[in-house]
């Protein structure tokens, strides 16, 4: 599964309001960044040089894995507003 192709196989309706907000200061000092490796949609990126964690909420599959594996409680995660976010057509 080439995860880069995700938006071509799975449909999303993007809300302008993000449903995931990360606390970049807490993430800067996190030792494991478990969210980066655990996310099935590869939404998280850790930049070693800048010490910044970034998240692309637009292709979130809304599984909640990141929220559960983050033991620093640095991820403010909620379900998107009704009708927005991932929209499974076939699965």
């Amino acid at each position: 599964m080439n995860i880069e192709n995700l938006p071509q196989v799975t449909q999303f309706k993007t809300d302008e309001q993000p449903h995931i907000i990360i606390d970049k200061e807490v993430c800067r000092t996190c030792e494991h960044h478990a969210c980066v490796m655990s996310c099935p949609a590869n939404c998280y990126t850790w930049n070693e040089e800048t010490g910044l964690l970034s998240v692309v909420y637009e292709t979130c599959l809304e599984c909640g894995t990141c929220y559960v594996v983050c033991d620093n409680k640095a991820i403010d995660w909620s379900y998107p507003r009704g009708g927005y976010g991932v929209n499974f057509r076939l699965t």
Partner: protein, 432 residues
């Protein structure tokens, strides 16, 4: 629009919709809230709808009406190592006639249909509604608030069918934090393949379907993989415990490639076209992880109540979910008749659950959770089995060892006596 209901059901998944149907049929004023643009838009599972008497009872001969893919005729359990597969295949003519033992289904279609049946009975379905939290009054749940909308919806009883990450149960104080050791993540790719090719490749005719469970992939991670045949597609995926996934340091989509690239699986999915990729959490903490399922004014059903179990061979959730939905609805009907929505009254729901197969099965396999966390189950034992099979069949001019001696020698080499005894006891306790 009335903002006051007898019952609000949060989540139009299988548990919520069947609860809604039962309540509406009893003449109650019931509102079904769904955060997707249609029921099923947010829902994903492996792909097996197990035979559920509660569903058959409420919608007789439902299999003639529901959008089902195939009925499960063939069950295969395959123990995999990177280059071997030892499989046990079970084909049963009794699974080939109604009432069928199970079906492959696709959730956007199935969930939409089931919610539609509830609507036909008079339930009010409101889509595009993400519930934020319960409305509390004097220690009781009296309604819910909806994201991005003013005001609140009120009801005598709220049924939380809001899925595995039940923020309703959490915010009502019925459960603790969500932790990696009691949750698995499922990832799945739906692959398109012509019907005739599927029938030929999996040796199926008519509406017959196959369920193949793979143990040993992903290698070194506590979890398992599956392949189910739909009419014109294959559901291929895997479920991994979050703590084990985290420890592996690998990404789910990379691990998923191990499955697709395994020589045995590769042949099965050859030429198939990716149609949709999805992921979802699975409550895998077993009986001990079941939260409190009722409080004043609220009951929790399905995945939200952690009603799901696996013992390595069976993986059941949707049938437990639907049954719990019906039991909660029955309780709500009694409560509304009595005009009593207190926890004392709603305790009846827990009593019904305890008396049903739902909690009985979860209790029976409560020790399986410990077994499922034995790492050896996922690499050493498939390896051991493959080693024995290879030595049985390999012909190379060296004298043979008797079968028992062979098994003993391989077991000692791969596992060692101490672990072997400990694991035998653990597996025995978990399954027997």
């Amino acid at each position: 629009m009335a903002k006051y209901f007898d019952v609000i059901v949060v989540g139009a998944g299988p548990a919520g919709s069947l609860a809604g149907l039962k309540l509406a049929r009893a003449g109650l004023n019931v509102c079904l809230l769904e955060r997707g643009s249609h029921p099923g838009a947010k829902n994903m599972f492996g792909g097996l709808l197990h035979n559920t008497p509660a569903l058959n009872e409420l919608i007789p001969s439902f299999w003639e009406k529901a959008p089902l893919e195939r009925h499960v005729y063939k069950k295969v359990l395959a123990f995999m190592t990177p280059d071997t597969a030892v499989s046990l295949s079970f084909e049963n003519e009794n699974f080939d006639r109604p009432p069928y033992n199970g079906y492959t289904v696709l959730r956007p279609a199935f969930d939409n249909w089931l919610a539609g049946e509830a609507v036909k009975e008079g339930a009010l379905l409101l889509c595009d509604c993400t519930v934020i939290e319960p409305v509390m009054k004097d220690g009781a749940v009296v309604g819910v608030t909806v994201k991005g909308r003013e005001g609140e919806l009120r009801a005598n009883i709220v049924i939380a069918a809001d899925g595995v990450l039940s923020f309703l149960a959490e915010k009502a104080g019925l459960r603790g934090d969500f932790v990696p050791g009691t949750l698995g993540v499922g990832v799945k790719l739906l692959l398109g393949l012509p019907e005739a090719t599927i029938n030929e490749r999996f040796h199926l005719v008519r509406d017959q379907g196959a369920d193949i469970s793979f143990l040993g992939i992903p290698a070194g991670i506590r979890g398992g993989s599956f392949l189910y045949t739909n009419r014109e597609s294959l559901s291929v995926g895997m479920v991994m415990y979050l703590d084990s996934l985290q420890k592996s340091g690998r990404a789910p989509h990379e691990i998923f490639d191990d499955l697709l690239q395994h020589p045995q699986v590769k042949k099965l999915v050859k030429g198939a076209v990716p149609l949709e990729y999805s992921a979802h959490l699975v409550p895998e903490g077993g009986y001990k992880a079941v939260p409190t399922v009722y409080t004043n004014g609220m009951m929790v059903v399905g995945d939200a109540a952690g009603l799901c179990y696996t013992n390595g061979i069976n993986l059941e959730g949707i049938n437990l979910a639907m049954t719990s939905g019906v039991l909660a609805a029955e309780t709500a009907i009694n409560a509304i008749e009595a005009g009593d929505y207190s926890a004392r009254m709603l305790a009846l729901y827990k009593k019904k659950l305890n008396e049903s197969f739902v909690i009985k099965d979860m209790k029976k396999f409560s020790k399986s959770v410990g077994m499922m966390h034995v790492d050896r189950l996922y690499d050493t034992y498939p390896q051991l089995l493959a080693g024995i099979m290879e030595k049985i069949y390999k012909v190379d001019g060296t004298p043979r060892t008797g079968l028992f001696g062979l098994a003993r020698k391989e077991a000692m080499k791969e596992v060692g006596l101490k672990d072997l005894v400990a694991d035998s006891i653990r597996i025995g306790r978990a399954l027997l």
